[in-house]
Symmetry: C2
Subunit: 411 residues, 2 copies
């Protein structure tokens, strides 16, 4: 029977995961850079805007000429032209003169402010009335006011969002140095496991883990490499592991649900020349029978065979680890948002194991959130599908009482 030789806490496991090196970086073009994590802070290579630009549709003026203007006593301006987009204007705005300028247009020489079109009345083709005064710089974006040359515009370590890509594009930064995406070998094991499209014979079960773990890998921004199911055979497991370590940055084995397979995985991984077992057993529930090893700088996860346990462990440790080696922060998962909620009913927990309780997060009429534990035995796969969150109950807690304030992690 399996003995767990190196049972560690979840914090201990996170610490061991944090000792792995991040993946190398690569140059990524902007069109592929969404959600990728920059390996270095990105600085502006020029000012934005390069020249003063109008932030409204209106009339470019010398601000001083508008002082005192009102609806009853408007200031009269001579229209000397109009700024067109896409070209520098050769207009020169003198005292008492103005030119129409569209949003984003470059301010013509001489002008230092723009009056919004709403505060003007056309008199004829050559003149316009201004009914509101403006101060110097009004409705103008000055050179470098948005971004200054050398300024940090995107920090390292945060996934790139649409607005970051817009800013990078605006500054002419056509590619970024980002961490590589992790390639993750996903290997289900066990004599009893058959692919989803095959009818299981009596005693067999279908491979749930291959699908759920691959999707989780994808959700973490990494690339799953699905492998064939490996039966309870040391030679075949050894071959699959060698193949996986050759192709992938991280290897995730799940299974076996049989004790024999569990032992086999530990044996084969531990016997790999140069491999080091970092943890064999984690003090969490579900998910205790988890293996973590290192080989040639690559992490090997041995997840429990049970689909609920395997997925919970993958959510808590694998997904954050993938985010980390791809350049992000390392924090115990799941990676979902956190919502503060009130616990709907009391629940028990085992002392000595950090307990992950599946809940349904609901919003009450008053806008507050309620966390309702999902009914059903913890080994039921349907409880994971019915849950949209988990609560982590600390190892030293005996449970939590109805009405307690809890933090729900979305799953």
């Amino acid at each position: 029977m399996t003995e767990f030789l190196h049972v560690i806490t979840s914090d201990g496991l996170i610490e061991r995961l944090g000792a792995f090196a991040r993946l190398p970086s690569e140059l990524v073009s902007l069109s592929s850079a969404f959600d990728r994590i920059p390996a270095e802070g990105i600085m502006a290579s020029e000012d934005l805007p390069e020249r003063a630009r109008s932030t409204v549709d209106g009339y470019a003026v010398q601000a001083a000429d508008s002082f005192g203007a009102s609806d009853s006593i408007p200031a009269l301006f001579t229209v000397v032209g109009a700024v067109t987009m896409g070209a520098l204007s050769d207009l020169l705005i003198g005292s008492g003169q103005t030119a129409y300028i569209p949003t984003g247009g470059f301010l013509p020489s001489g002008a230092d402010a723009v009056v919004m079109v709403e505060y003007t009345n056309p008199v004829d083709e050559a003149s316009v009335e201004v009914t509101h005064p403006v101060t110097s710089g009004a409705n103008v974006l000055l050179p470098g006011e948005d971004v200054k040359t050398g300024e940090l515009i995107v920090p390292a370590g945060e996934p790139l969002r649409p607005q970051d890509l817009g800013l990078l594009a605006g500054l002419g930064i056509a590619s970024v140095r980002a961490y590589q995406q992790a390639k993750v070998a996903v290997i289900s094991t066990g004599d009893e496991v058959v692919p989803v499209d095959r009818k299981p014979k009596p005693g067999q079960i279908r491979d749930a883990n291959g699908h759920s773990i691959s999707a989780l890998v994808r959700a973490a921004g990494a690339i799953p490499l699905p492998f064939e199911i490996v039966p309870d055979d040391a030679g075949m497991l050894r071959a699959a592991l060698a193949d996986a370590l050759g192709q992938a940055d991280v290897v995730v084995l799940s299974g076996g649900s049989s004790v024999g397979m569990r032992d086999l995985i530990v044996e084969v991984v531990a016997a790999l020349p140069g491999a080091e077992v970092l943890a064999h057993g984690i003090a969490i529930r579900p998910g205790k029978p988890t293996l973590l090893a290192r080989h040639g700088g690559k992490a090997i996860f041995g997840l429990p065979g049970h689909p609920v346990s395997a997925l919970i462990v993958a959510m808590i440790f694998l997904a954050p680890f993938l985010r980390y080696i791809q350049g992000g922060r390392l924090e115990k998962g799941p990676l979902g948002e956190r919502t503060r909620a009130t616990l709907a009913v009391s629940m028990h927990s085992i002392i000595g194991l950090e307990d992950y309780i599946r809940v349904r997060l609901e919003r009450a009429a008053d806008g507050e959130y309620i966390a309702r534990p999902v009914f059903g035995k913890s080994s039921m796969l349907s409880t994971m599908a019915r849950a949209n969150g988990v609560i982590a109950v600390p190892a030293q807690a005996e449970g939590m009482v109805e009405g307690a304030a809890v933090e729900v992690i979305h799953i």
Copy 2:
């Protein structure tokens, strides 16, 4: 100058968007189904588990034989074999008999409960002591207890998560009927706009919108089709629009920042045979100069040219619309999580326009969230990059005061 002929509220625009039909559905294999939205509720085609299975490593027994067992007076059982994974056992457990069973193993005939291995002591190869009583059904998952044939396991309209895929795989459902992903033509327009890899001449600007909007489309689970930049030319715009309507499910034009281009887009779209302008102007800030039209059942968005306005409008309307036609709910965006926070400083807002204020969401030491408005003119692209949330201030509000409870939408 552009007149906004059909200025409507944001709720009015959402209502018009909700009148579009969803995309057709298609059959998607499980390995591609992550984050796709099922077009119909999925029912279980068989029981899970098919037969009673153990949820622990332990010994299968007749529960009645364990009654009264304790550490001081253990019950003695004769070991008649062990259940192996992957095969149906032909063991028969009689009174006083037991067999070793691994987690997930099928319960042998005669047994009705499993004693966890922790509550047993091996005596010799043929016998084992049990130190805790179990009731009938203990540590056993009964046939259909996880999922019953015909039960709804995944609802229509919710994106498939890793746990849903695991459950579908466990039940042998190898493909699902899901809504198609939207193909979205992304077209930047304007004489002054140049691609990101080209040095702008004086008066020109780089195409920020093409990149930010494409990334937003991707984040909404849709497929961006990037188009060449179209200059201020009715013929070229007409050709690009026809091409886009031929290839894509949704067309997104951005620009022009020049009034001329803005007029041109409205004219060309309105003149398209069979096109209907649904909105021309939305009562929001930023983003008022937005066009929505319909042609052959397809939506055409005309976003403002200014990168901040274009992205805000795309977050509030385009992303939710894409989620909706791909099978999800239609709610005003952005699509990010919502967090309740306290406003750090008072802020003004214009009556008559729904105002989208960029904020930085910070977590205070007490765990409460603070929303800090981002400093800078609203037309600055860098304010979008520095923000990680927005607050929607209703059209009828003059502003919000320091300390107010606000809902921050993550961006």
